[in-house]
Amino acid sequence: MPHFLIQFAQQHEEFRLPELEALATIEDVEIIYNPEDYSLESPFLIVEIESEEKAARLLKRAILIKTIIELWGKGSSWDDLADKVKQHPERWPQYMDVSFKFSVVCFGGTIEMKDKPAIINRFAFTGFRGKIMLKNPDVEFLLIADCGLDPDNLIPHTFYMGKLIGHGKRDLIDMFNVKKRKYIGNTTMDAELSLIMANQALCVPGKLVYDPFVGTGSFLMTCAHFGAMTVGSDIDGRQIRGKGKTSIRSNAQQYNVEGRVMDALVFDVCHSPWRNIKSGIFDAIVTDPPYGVRAGAKTLGRKDPLKQATEPKMLEDGEYSHTKTDYIPPTKPYEMSEVVADLLMFAVKNLVVGGRLVYWLPTVTEEYSIDDLPTHPSMELIANCEQSFGQWSRRLITMEKVAEWDGKETLGPPTGEMSRSKTSSTNSIGHFGFRDKYFAFGNLESSRRKKILKELYDKGGREAVRAYMKSEGEKKRQEAAATSTANVDAK
């Protein structure tokens, strides 16, 4: 099979291969590559794909692929590359008389404009007679020099040449940019990750996708953009209804997916009213469960089970309290590990076979181990990608339902032993008590910070402290940008 060179975006590195695999599944394209060729530190990967047309199909909705070229040669220098390209003159004739252009690009370094013509002229041996057109040529050839990620190394070590197949759909990131979105909340997921999740969930026209913690509906928008029908629910109706004229519905209008964002309902996913259909209702479940940091997870009930009413309460005016239009039932905190276990079990019961569950799992980096992931015999782990924020990270988990649920089988380890009561074994799970641990970092930080500031002041006085604060502020801003959550208060 012909060889192609994929150039990925050099970010969200852990998500790139899983997305590529998902795209190949969606478009039914067979791709072969050597996993050893792939490195998180490089944007390049050589793959074998049956045809040019199939390679182009991978790009239709790719978020983490920048470019694919049909690879004509790979070398250790421009001369070596030219020699490699010369070995296959049979590739040239079909481009002999069409308009074309050559582009020179460099990864991890720069090639000056004035040096580019000389590089291009090294490839004059192809003898193309067509017109050179810098705008909209019939075919574009790419000359790529790779310096690698090391900022101190500006000398290219690998060179590629090939015919451009096309670019990914990274412009969608801008289209779904939360800054331009009319209705957002403080837990709105950033555009790029929402789009990647829609790919992981294999959203295509005709499928039904559900988000049980819908919030402001980020995932409904991206999944609907790729053609799926979407529905969401949340225990808190305020986010669904929105503010004034902005709501999930107005966002759907903004992205022109109104007909595919069907409904948003208010209920607690622990007490879900979905009718049980044996073969499953949903083709995918895409969600970001509340971690308890920005938005606290809640479930129906009272903290103290003894206080929970078992009979309806009659008010003085002779009506039952729960029949009032403004009745809001009491809720209690919902521990992260329970949320995740319930979510997985919900997926087991309500996904169709072949359907996917795509969700975020926050973990404390030091305590995380792969065994922390709740498992179920009907669900197969497809991908587990980490987005790190230092001491904590979140993982995008993709699972696929591979077998019908027999109606009995419960969650496997580690959650198999996890009863609702807190046993010692649950305490060791990387996302157990996530909220408390997250806030504990803050306390630790502040005591450490006080110590650092004191030392700085003793040594360098005010100036030193000011310089430190400035650099810390910069770091914080970067981290905030990474979490990419809009700082608009939802409430």
């Binding site: 026209p205 209920f267 979905w274």
Partner: protein, 116 residues
């Protein structure tokens, strides 16, 4: 698609009966793949009964054998499922009489304290 989920209300809890509804029609693009996908998931008789209550009378009483490729039928199903929106109203459980209120097109399916 929804059933009553009050604790202990396990029989005769579907379909929820719509009452005092205000409907709105919104044109939507016909999505045949989706309708085919839903055919196996719908409780068709319940859908027809519900539609009759809402004065949508064009759905045939039984599902046609060639439903998946019957354009006329799919168009009608599309209209009932995707173009008809209940803006306000109530959904009442035929068994325990629990009333779920629909406001601004958003059904409130939360249970009361004593029902979980």
């Amino acid at each position: 698609m929804l059933q009553c989920h009050v604790k202990g209300c396990n029989a005769n809890n579907f379909p929820l009966e719509l009452q005092e509804v205000v409907l709105e029609e919104q044109e939507a693009e016909l999505n045949e793949d989706f309708l085919r996908n839903m055919l196996g998931k719908l409780e068709y008789e319940a859908l027809v009964a519900t539609c009759l209550k809402l004065n949508i009378q064009d759905l045939p009483p039984t599902i046609p054998e060639d439903a998946a490729y019957n354009d006329d039928f799919l168009q009608k199903l599309h209209h009932a499922l995707l173009e008809t929106h209940v803006i306000t109203g109530k959904m009442v459980c035929p068994n325990c009489q629990h009333t779920y209120v629909i406001r601004d097109g958003i059904p409130n399916m939360l249970l009361a304290e004593h029902e979980v």
